[in-house]
Every structure is written in C-alpha cells, then in structure tokens.
C-alpha cells in the first residue's frame, strides 16, 4: 500500500490555476504495464487470504474446528469487499480530516466530471504517472479484507460465528479505515511536483515563492495524521499487521482461554495444510509488497527482492534458533519464521536494501520465536494461532527496522521529499520518532477501539460459545458440517 491517492479533479484545477501562466498542466495517462502489474498484484493479495491464510490457520486448529476457521476467513473477505465498495474506500482514501476521509466516493462514485468510472485515475509515487482508479480500489480492497481475517486466528476455536459476523464490519469501519487513512492518505505527487517545476523555471524567484509556498502548504495539510508525522510504511506493517495483531491480543484476553488450554492436546490437525497456506502466503505477498509500489518499476523489483530474502532469512533464523534451544528443527517453526519475515519486511519492502532486509529477517525470526514461546507462556494468554506474537511483534520490528534500514548509508533508498524533488537527508532520530508515532498511534487506536468493539459485540450477541459447543467443535455446532467425512 502506498502513499498514493487518487488523482483528483480538484487538485488538477488547483495546479492549473497556480501554474497556467508558465506551464500547461498535462493530465496524466495511465500506463498499461503498470495497470497490468497492479491487476496481477490485486489477485495475488486475494490469494494470500483465500486460500492462503485460511489454510495456514485451518491446519493449525483441531479438525473439529477446521470449517469454522475457513468460514470466518471467507466471510471476512466477502463482507469487507462489499463494505469497501459501499463506503470503505471513500472513508480511507478521500480527503477530510487527518483521521478519516469523507463520503465523496461512497458507492464508488469516482467518475471524473463528464467522464465514466473507467477514466478515473489514481496517483502513484511518481509525478504524472497514474493507474486506473478502479484497480487501485480493488488492490486496497484486498488489504482491507486480509487485515481482519488475520485477527480471527487469535480467538479461533471458541468464538461464536455471529460474534465474528458482527465484529468484522464494525472493526473495519471504526479501526481499519481510520488507520489506513492516517497512514496512507496523501494528495499524491502530481501537484507538488508541478509546483516545484514551475518554481524552478521562474526567473523571478521572489514572485514565485508565494505560489510555491501555498502549494507546499496545501500538500502538507492534505494527508493522514501518521503520514504527516513522517512515518513510512511501504506495504502495511502498521495498518495491517500491528493493527490486526494488537486487536487479536485484546480479543484473546477478553474472550479467555480455550477449554483445556495448557492441559489437553491442542496439536495442529494438519501441518500439511499449514505448509500449503504459508507457501501461498509467500507467493501472494509479492502482490502485497511489490504491488504496493503501484508501478511495474525498479521499486517493485526491490520490494520483490526484499520479500524473498527477508522471508528466507527469518525462516532460517527461527528454525536454527529452535534447533539450538529445543534440539529439533520443526516444520511449523520454519513456516512461522517465514510469515514473521514477511510481516517484518512489509513496511520495509520498498525502502530497505536487500542486505538490510536479510538482517531484518534474521532479527525478526528470533524475536517472534521468543514472543510466541517464552513470553506467551510466561503471560499465559491463549492467542490460539499467535496473531500477536507474529503479526504485532513482527510488525513492530518491521516498522522500527524500516526507520533504520531506509538510511542510504545502510543500503536503503532514503525517503523522497517531493517539495525538493529529491531524496531527503536521512535523520535517524527524526525518522525513528516518526516510526514510533506510527506504531504507538496504531497500538492505542486499535487496542482501545478493539476492546470497546469486543465488549459491544459481547453485549449484543455474546462472544463465546458454551462449553459443550466448544468441546463438540464449532464445525458441527455452528455450521452443521464436518471438514472430513470418512
């Protein structure tokens, strides 16, 4: 995901008004290569969720709860897809306030004046390079869908389906959309780049200064809260992973432990499914990370490279650490490490250099292993599938690591400053402060907001099934089906 926002007729008009005297403002056209890559990326991200995440999670639960997990993930994809089209996209990706957008594009009313929705364009990271807005909408839709689907792993095997059905749309509306807006909404580079060109071309700098300052102010004001803080998050470390991870922890704490937790065998019913799911997650994640570049360019290739090497490094780190500490290299350990690596490289994908990404992967593999074993056991919470330990902790490692690894001195790309038209000087303290703003805002917003939503859902339909239902398994009791009839 990205810091891009749909091309807007208003901005174009502003730009034309400001610079008509010196430069004609050419309306960008979309590049078919970029469009093709983004269409591909969009379906790759859907592949991550169904069947990737569904099988990854499904294999980890007991066979009596397999269908309940598959259903919760599939339901989430469908319901979020619908609300994204109705109002979600508009609230996340239109201007309004620092914290939430408006309803101007509700019901996908995106057609430019006098044109159709096929002509609507969305900005990318490059000035005057746009993609078709409908593709951008679908791409972002898949991100909105996978995020709440990640949460269901935390309260798997004991949550009522009615509670999931109510919680997911509430959470997306009140937690995800504001965070997505805060992190990713910005006005796009077109207007500010045009203003910069005009200013540089002006012979009378003093006279041009006022117009350029006005453009800079307009550019700086029209963005989300965390974006303005300068936090960088290439593909959604905060919006997706920290956001879902902390919500999962809150859910696991509020709903309580599974019956028999810590006493009975709760071994994964099919690590084969988990292997298939984790591998599909990795494949689909190239759409997630490299797609977040929005253009089929070198930036996408960098994100792809990082998503390869960080993932492999994290899988190896987890596997070897477990081998050393526990005496055996486990399949589930290697798979969990891979997912942790994907999570951590998500915010860094387009910013870190490949060697930095390897270091990030090695670190996150060990840190997440520590949280999923030592810390979880010490605190005693039952986060069924380690949504907090992998996604929240991995997301935090990634968000902070991105602030370090973006440094050009460490092989990173640096951060583009569109008001000067080049890479800004790297400032460690400033960048890490920005990253902390992103992490802490997300933790607080999602942590507190999710707690309130879980309580509301508990009052309306009840969060948890009764003990007999839980013993029998959710598949037969909630869905009247069995995953395996033999």
């Amino acid at each position: 995901m990205t810091f891009k926002r749909p091309y807007s007729a208003g901005l174009a008009a502003l730009a034309v008004g400001l610079f008509a005297a010196t430069a004609a403002y050419a309306e960008p056209t979309v590049n078919k290569g970029d469009n093709a890559w983004m269409l591909t990326s969009t379906v790759l991200v859907l592949l991550m969720t169904i069947p990737g995440l569904a099988l990854f999670y499904g294999g980890l639960v007991r066979s009596k709860n397999m269908l309940s997990v598959l259903m919760q993930v599939f339901y989430t994809v469908c319901i979020v897809t619908l609300l994204w089209a109705l109002y979600g996209y508009s609230l996340a990706f239109t201007g309004g306030s620092d914290f939430i957008g408006g309803f101007s594009k509700a019901f996908l009313k995106i057609a430019p004046e006098g044109k159709t929705i096929l002509d609507a364009q969305a900005a990318t990271f490059s000035a005057d390079v746009n993609i078709t807005e409908l593709i951008y909408i679908c791409f972002q839709m898949t991100f909105a869908a996978i995020t709440p689907a990640l949460i269901v792993g935390a309260f798997a095997e004991r949550m009522k389906f009615a509670a999931v059905a109510l919680f997911v749309p509430l959470w997306v509306t009140l937690i995800y959309l504001p965070i997505a807006h805060m992190v990713w909404y910005w006005p796009g580079p077109d207007a500010i780049s045009a203003a910069l060109k005009t200013f540089e071309a002006a012979t009378d700098k003093a006279a041009a200064q006022a117009a350029f300052d006005a453009a800079k102010t307009a550019f700086g004001d029209d963005a989300g809260f965390i974006f303005k803080k300068g936090a960088i998050d290439f593909a959604g470390g905060t919006v997706v992973h920290i956001n879902a991870g902390i919500a999962g922890l809150v859910g696991a704490l509020l709903i309580g432990k599974r019956v028999g937790y810590g006493k009975e065998l709760m071994a994964p019913h099919s690590l084969t499914m988990t292997m298939i799911g984790a591998s599909l997650l990795w494949v689909g994640w190239f759409g997630f990370n490299a797609g977040s570049n929005l253009e089929a360019s070198g930036g996408a290739a960098l994100a792809m490279t990082n998503s390869f090497v960080a993932t492999a490094a994290a899988a190896m780190a987890w596997m070897f650490a477990e081998w050393i500490v526990k005496g055996h290299p486990s399949v589930l350990g290697a798979l969990s490490g891979a997912v942790a690596g994907l999570v951590a490289v998500t915010p860094a994908a387009g910013y870190a250099g490949p060697m930095g990404a390897i270091v990030l992967g090695l670190v996150v593999g060990v840190v997440c292993l520590f949280f999923c074993t030592v810390v979880k056991n010490a605190l005693g919470y039952d986060d069924s599938l380690d949504v907090f330990g992998v996604h929240c902790i991995g997301g935090i490692v990634g968000a902070l690591g991105t602030g370090i690894l973006v440094n050009p001195a460490l092989g990173g790309t640096g951060v583009m400053d569109y008001t000067i038209g080049k890479i800004a000087d790297y400032d460690f303290v400033a960048q890490m402060t920005s990253q902390f703003w992103g992490v802490c805002t997300t933790l607080v917003w999602s942590g507190i907001g999710s707690a309130i939503l879980f309580k509301v859902v508990d009052v309306i339909v009840g969060l948890r099934v009764n003990v007999e239902t839980e013993r029998e398994g959710l598949d037969v009791t909630e869905h009247t089906e069995r995953a395996y009839n033999m």
Binding site: M266, L369, C372
Partner: protein, 112 residues
C-alpha cells in the same frame, strides 16, 4: 477355535501379514488404534507449546484360527513384530464359539 488379537507397531504390519500368510493363515482384520502401555507417550512441540501425547498410534490385527494353529500363529506374529524395543505390543488369545461364512453358510472350521 480362537481369536488371536495382536497390538503391533504400525510399520510391522506388512511383515506380520507375510509371516501369517507363510503359515497358511489367509484372513486378517486390521484396525488403526491408539493406546499406551509401558512405552507410555512422547512429547510433541508446536511453537513452543509442549504436549505429552499419551496415546500412541498402533495397529490391531485380529485373526481367527483353529485351536491347534494358535501357537504357530503366535510364533509368526511374535517373530515378525519384534524389534526388541519397548512398545512392540501384545498378543491376546480369546475363545471363539462359532463362525459362519456369509456367502456359503459354511460354519466353524470350514468357515475359517
């Protein structure tokens, strides 16, 4: 007539079948079962969660033989299923009152 019931290690099934065929036993019923004896269980670890698995997978075979075949049958199973390690299993012999071959109606010794 007797039923010879044996609980064996799963990977020994083919060898036991071959041994029984060699002594002229031509029928066998196999069931996948779980249980524990002196071998007790083992430990499985999933993301740091350690589970003591007390029921181990075993194979239960049941074969109906004439009374004078029992010792040969026990010898065949014992020699084929033995590894010398704890957990090789057990053999139980149970009296069998009556047997019928469904297709022909033959009874007892003729039905085996």
């Amino acid at each position: 007539m007797k039923i010879v019931m044996a609980i064996i290690k799963p990977f020994k099934l083919e060898e036991v079948r071959d041994a029984l065929t060699a002594i002229g036993v031509h029928g066998l019923t196999v069931t996948e079962v779980k249980g524990y004896g002196r071998q007790k269980g083992h430990t499985e670890i999933y993301r740091g969660a350690e589970y003591a698995v007390s029921f181990l997978p075993k194979i239960k075979i049941e074969v109906a033989v004439a009374s004078d075949q029992v010792d040969k049958t026990i010898d065949a199973i014992t020699s084929a299923a033995k590894t010398g390690q704890i957990g090789d299993g057990k053999i139980f012999v149970i009296n069998l009152d009556h047997a019928v071959r469904i297709r022909t109606g033959e009874a007892d010794a003729a039905a085996l």
